[in-house]
């Protein structure tokens, strides 16, 4: 057999994309040189709600060489194919948000393009807009279905013929709370962009590429774009070629929207007869693309005097924005995380999403869970306060564990590392001592600078992979080919968007095949040369797709080794010479034990969960209400850290994104317009604002993941905000039930309430 090769899983191999990115050689979509390409731009409604009566082109403007397209030019269905068919690619009559695209313009000169866009006037008859969850629920204006509700889910657990209210009222201690969270912008480094080239029949052959439409751009999910393009252009799948350029971050923001941008660029290219590049600037990107769903969550609970949780009632309303996009799935994940990491005897969780005349909200790291985890974690603190217990002790008392049953009736059978997470975070942060010390309000030292400290904790879990029967329906696939010299080529649709897929897949494939790391190639995703592995979302890339990458690589390597004796490369070349093509297509098979019922919303919501404990220590300036996070401890059970540095990077980056959501970010909207669509005034934290992180990667392996790995992508986004809020609350003694916690909010809360604390 071959000589032993060093295993790479669990080691910090250098990133395969690192050198090109650091030296500026990586080719992002804006760096693609496309000879003869036109610049494309978008005419948007500027009105939150109304009826489009006409599109006027200024007759005094010189339109030569300028292409203008509208809804009438779309050859297929004018819909962004995803879940519901409610969103048009270009508005035809109804205007549903301010940044609704109405017409597209292409021109060979970027300055004239802007002038041309300004020379187009839209005649829109305005209608009263619905701008908030409360507006939508008031139903004065109906903008979606019968009642403005885009989707509704209910989870019921062990009600035994009673209502949840009855079960709660039978408890010793009842606590009610209302919590709210706000929008969040993904703020990936690279704004969205697509380059499209429409090849008429025959043209493609000349150029050495397939006929049809070629789109390359910044995206997470090539096959989502592929599906949308087929509908929009009424094309067979083999005429639509969607490729990924090096992508500068996504965080979910490049999950849905790339379908729109790809179709826009392709439509302009088709009509203009030339390639078209549409690269958004930061402002347009912030305005037009999806954000995290705002939510309002009401929780009522009953527990015993001793602090045993008994009954939970959650009423969760999310703002879906103008179109459905992925809202049902976000809502679903949201309610499936609403019970937190705790045992409840009885529960009823009710979630609904409403339509508003604001830009559509969609996928964002955590996908609904950060919203509901915010609420349940804040509520745990409210219960602790009422019981006079330490909030972390209350959590420890009620934790889910192996053998425990979740609110969907799932019995946890493995990979629950939450106790170890709490132990590690508590010990390293000295949580209990600090919590006790900060509880005694020592007068802030010195008259010049008045500050006070606080410490807070959050405990949480995040389901890894698609929800319920998602993976079973999806049937993600990966292909592995044998190549000359004994190299393996992994073909998957999982994109590297900065999180390290390319590196990690190589590690997994190399170890499974027992081959050196650098003999593995990862094909750059293009729908024409990779199978559909499912989207790059839901913390599923390593756990789900990674597991079949390993399986495929091992199958090919085994065939080579079984073909004779000798060194691997020689055997591989001989096998290839005999068989011409040596390749395998592997499909993901979810563990059989995982069963889910979509109708009753009962069963195994996720094959497994990642678990975590976050502890935040803050110092708040009592004059300016600026919060400085002076320490952050994150202990997260991710099953197995395939690449520890990148995992720690996910934990720190995700946590910083959560800190941003809690303390800095604030999307300012007026009449449906975003007033701060710039990096200067939509404020995300800088490295200078980042706290010192202490990160623990806890490894309680999951039998279904490669080397035991679960997901790490989303989990870190879940706990930062509630941990910070708990710490801020201790520091200043003002109730923090609503995000954000900007200095202005804390100032207002402090001057208004001086809430009596028990």
């Amino acid at each position: 057999m071959t000589s032993r090769v060093d295993r790479t899983v669990g080691k910090n191999v250098s990133r395969v994309d690192g050198h090109a990115k650091v030296t500026g050689q990586a080719v992002y979509v804006d760096d693609l040189t496309t000879p003869g390409a036109l610049f494309g731009g978008t005419v948007r409604s500027a009105v939150a709600r109304g009826t489009l009566r006409g599109i006027r082109k200024d007759p005094s403007f010189d339109w030569t060489g300028i292409t203008v397209v509208t809804a009438a030019d779309i050859p297929g269905d004018n819909v962004v194919a995803l879940i519901e068919d409610d969103q048009p690619l270009l508005a035809k009559d109804a205007i549903r948000h301010v940044y609704e695209p109405v017409a597209l313009v292409a021109c060979d000169d970027p300055v004239r393009l802007q002038q041309a866009i300004a020379a187009i006037t839209l005649d829109v008859e305005p209608l009263p807009p619905v701008l908030s969850i409360e507006d939508a629920e008031a139903k004065k204006q109906i903008i979606y279905g019968k009642d403005n509700v885009q989707k509704r889910y209910v989870i019921e657990h062990e009600l035994g013929g009673k209502t949840i209210d009855e079960l709660i009222l039978a408890c010793d201690v009842v606590v009610t709370g209302r919590y709210a969270v706000h929008h969040q912008e993904q703020m990936y480094i690279e704004p969205q962009g697509m380059v499209a080239h429409w090849q008429e029949a025959g043209e493609g052959a000349e150029a050495g590429v397939g006929d049809g439409v070629h789109v390359t751009g910044s995206l997470q999910c090539p096959f989502y774009v592929h599906k949308a393009m087929k509908r929009a252009f009424a094309l067979e799948g083999d005429r639509v070629h969607i490729g990924q350029a090096v992508t500068g971050g996504g965080f979910g923001g490049k999950e849905e929207y790339p379908s729109i941008l790809a179709a826009h660029a392709a439509l302009l290219s088709k009509v203009a007869g030339k390639p078209v590049r549409m690269i958004y600037g930061r402002k347009e990107d912030i305005e037009a693309t999806t954000k995290r769903h705002p939510a309002r969550i009401e929780i009522t609970t009953g527990c015993t005097k001793a602090g045993e949780l008994v009954a939970l009632k959650v009423e969760c309303a999310m703002d879906g924005g103008a179109y459905v996009t992925l809202t049902p799935v976000v809502l679903s994940r949201g309610i499936l995380h609403a019970a937190g990491a705790y045992k409840w005897k009885h529960a009823r969780i009710h979630g609904w999403a409403v339509a508003t005349n604001t830009p559509p909200n969609g996928a964002f790291r955590g996908f609904g869970a950060p919203q509901t985890i915010w609420a349940i974690e804040r509520h745990m603190d409210r219960i602790a306060e009422k019981l006079g217990k330490d909030p972390l002790t209350l959590r420890q008392q009620n934790l889910l564990a192996i053998g425990a049953v979740t609110v969907t009736g799932q019995t946890l059978t493995q990979s629950v590392g939450v106790v170890e997470c709490i132990e590690k975070a508590v010990k390293s942060s000295d949580y209990f001592a600090k919590r006790a010390a900060y509880a005694k309000p020592s007068p802030a030292a010195g008259s010049r600078t008045r500050t006070r400290r606080g410490i807070g904790a959050a405990v949480f879990m995040h389901g890894a992979g698609f929800t319920g029967s998602g993976e079973r329906r999806l049937k993600g696939k990966v292909q592995v080919d044998l190549e000359p010299g004994g190299r393996l080529r992994v073909r998957s649709a999982s994109t590297d968007i900065g999180q390290g897929t390319e590196t990690i897949f190589r590690q997994i494939a190399a170890d499974a095949a027992e081959l050196p790391f650098d003999t593995i190639e990862i094909e750059t995703p293009n729908t024409s040369n990779v199978p559909d592995s499912g989207p790059t979302v839901a913390s599923r890339t390593v756990m789900v797709v990674g597991s079949i990458v390993g399986k495929g690589a091992k199958m090919i390597a085994d065939r080579v080794r079984a073909s004779g004796t000798g060194d691997f490369a020689t055997l591989a070349d001989a096998l290839l010479a005999r068989e011409k093509k040596v390749s395998t297509l592997v499909e993901y098979e979810p563990p059989v034990a995982v069963q889910w019922n979509d109708d009753t919303y009962r069963g195994d919501a996720y094959p497994c969960y990642a678990w975590a404990c976050d502890i935040a220590e803050v110092e708040v300036d009592l004059d300016t209400f600026e919060t400085k996070v002076i320490g952050f401890w994150a202990a997260q059970d991710i099953g197995k850290a395939i690449h520890p540095i990148m995992c720690a990077g996910q934990v720190e980056g995700g946590t910083l994104q959560a800190i941003g959501w809690a303390l800095y970010e604030n999307l300012v909207m007026k009449d449906g317009h975003i007033l701060n669509a710039r990096m200067t005034n939509y404020v995300i934290p800088t490295s200078k604002d980042a706290p010192p992180f202490t990160t623990f990667l806890v490894e309680h392996p999951f039998s279904g993941g490669p080397s035991g790995a679960k997901g790490v992508g989303e989990l870190p986004m879940d706990g930062g905000a509630p941990a910070i809020a708990a710490a801020v609350e201790q520091a200043i003694g003002a109730l923090c039930n609503d995000l954000p916690l900007l200095p202005e909010d804390l100032f207002r809360a402090k001057s208004k309430s001086q809430v009596a604390r028990s």
Binding site: P110, V111, A118, G281, E284, T624, F625, E626, D689, P743
Partner: protein, 299 residues
Amino acid sequence: MSAHAPAGLARTEMVCPKTIAEACAVLAQAHRDKRAASLLAGGTDVIVDRHLMPIEKARPLDLVVDLTGVDELTAISERDVAGERHLVFGGGVTYWQLRTDRRVLAAIPMLDAMAKDVGAVQIQTRGTLAGNIATASPAADGVPALMALDGVVKLVSEGGARTVPLDQFFLAYRKTVLAAGELIAEIDVRVPLPGARVTWRKVGTRLAQAISKVALAGVIEEERGTITRARFGVASVAAVTHPLGGVRALAEGKTFKALDRATVDAAIDLEIKPIDDVRSTGAYRLHVAKALVWRALAP
């Protein structure tokens, strides 16, 4: 391609004078020829402004006068004015120079603290004091610091020179006394006496790359308990950087003990009415301005 392409630069002429006199001559000629001209120093305001300008509003620019080659503008020197020590900064002095010049670090560490709070290192190495002053943003950081140091600008044109105290330089939101053909050659500041209480505090949206919500610079000097000098510059609370002359008048000549928070707050109420905008609220700004002034003045 960004949403707002920098338009109308195709016909723009760029000149790079070597001296202040040469720069003034070019400016004067452009003025006589009715050509639209702009001075360019670090470019960190003027290029960004132009980039963000909606295409419909972008007027053609005939001439750009690049000042980065004018060595006189980058000098830092000392002078004695009526027995008091002053530092003189050329208009082209950058924040990075403030952070690295030994005289500045020793004499006025507050300017170092201010410069550290500007943007990030890239901006600090390009951005200049004159650019900060000429842009006349009420959120500028350099301006309040220089104002609290009794800054006086020297304006030079082909016809001559004049000096204007910084607290009289700004007329209204982004309007100044700078006339066509004039440039800011120098900024003179008085070095606070040893033992003076010198304050710099920027309350920004974050710790770097931040525009202030409120920023306060203060210089308080005393003689045997009596306040002899109380000078301020406060950013982002009015249409222009504000000197808080009322607080100065209240404090100077009094002992620290004779001042109380309520009286100082009342003086501030009379002077500024901060507004709500995307960065903050008027109520918060007023509260913070009062708190910071009190931190500077409290016994």
